[in-house]
Amino acid sequence: MASQSHVETLALREQFDTAGQQKDASTLGMWLFLITEIMFFGGMFLAYSVYRGIYPTIFAIASTSLNVYIGAANTVVLLCSSFTMVLAVRAAQLGQRRAIIVFLVLTLALGTVFLGVKAYEWKEKFEEHHIPGQAAFHLEGVSADQQGHAQLFFSLYFAMTGLHALHMVIGAGILTVLIFQARRGKFTADYMTPVDVAGLYWHFVDIIWIFLFPLLYLIDRHLK
C-alpha cells in the first residue's frame, strides 16, 4: 500500500505521484483526443482528394470561384490567434494572471473575427447560388449536365469549412470559460493545465485550416 504522502491539490491529485506525472498524463490525453480528430478530418480530406481526382476540371473551376484574398487574410487572422494563444499559455506558465486574461481575450477576439469573415464568405455563396442542394444552384463556366459535380465541390467545401468553424465555436466556448476561471485566479504557475491543453486544441484547429486553405483555395488557382 502506498502511503498517503501528499495533500491533494489541483496540481497534484491523489492518483499521481508527482505534479510532473499528472501534467504529462494530461498532455498525453489531449494528444490522444487530437489524434481522433486528425482521423475525423482525415476522412474528409480523403473524400475531397478522391472527388478532385474524379472531376479535376470541375473542381478547378469551383475552387477558383472562391475568394483567395479573403481566405489568405483569414489564415493570417487565425495564425495571429495562435500566436496570442501561445502567449497566454506562456503567461500561465509564469503565473501572470493579468497577462493570461489579456491574451485569452485577444485570442477569443481574433477567433470571432475569423468566424465573422467565414460567415461573410458563406453569405456570398448564397448570393452567388453556390449552395449545394439549392434549386437555383449554378456555377458559371460549367455545362448543365455537370452542375451536379460542381455541387459536390461545394458540399465538401461546406462540410469541411463548416466542421472547422464548429471547432472554432467550441474553442471560443472553452476560451470564455478559461477567461472567467483566470479572473477568479484559478491558474497559477504550478497549475495551468486547462490553459495548456486548450492551447493544444486551438493550435490543432489552426493546423486543420493550414491544410484546408491550400486545398480549397490555392491548388487550382494557376489554371484561372
Binding site: K23, I35, I38, L46, V50, G53, V76, L79, P214
Partner: protein, 99 residues
C-alpha cells in the same frame, strides 16, 4: 517542476515565419507549376504544421511517449490516405469490368 518556458522572441520568430509562408503559398498559387502546384502548396502547409506543432504545441519539449503517440497518429492517417488512394488510382489499371 522543470517546465520549459520559451521566450516571446522565439514565438514571435515562429509567428513571422508562419505569416511569410502564408504569403509565399498564396503568391506561388498564381504561378503555373503544373502538377507541382499541389506539391508546393502541401509542402508549405506541412512546414507550417511543423512550426505550429513543434513550437506552439511544445512537441519540442514533450515526453518521448507523447511524441511516439503523435507519430503513431500520423502513421494511421498515412494508412488511411495511402491505402485508399492506392486502390482508387489503380482501379482502371487491370481493365476489370465494372470500374
Amino acid at each position: 517542476m522543470h517546465e520549459h518556458i520559451d521566450s516571446i522572441k522565439l514565438y514571435a520568430l515562429v509567428f513571422i515565419g508562419l505569416i511569410i509562408l502564408t504569403v509565399v503559398t498564396t503568391a506561388v498559387a498564381f504561378v503555373d507549376l503544373g502538377p507541382f502546384s499541389v506539391v508546393a502548396a502541401l509542402g508549405i502547409a506541412v512546414c507550417k504544421m511543423l512550426l505550429v506543432a513543434l513550437f506552439f504545441m511544445h512537441i519540442r519539449h514533450s515526453t518521448k511517449l507523447t511524441r511516439l503517440v503523435v507519430l503513431g497518429g500520423l502513421l494511421w492517417l498515412f494508412i488511411l490516405l495511402a491505402l485508399t488512394m492506392s486502390d482508387f488510382v489503380t482501379r482502371g489499371a487491370l481493365g476489370v469490368p465494372g470500374r
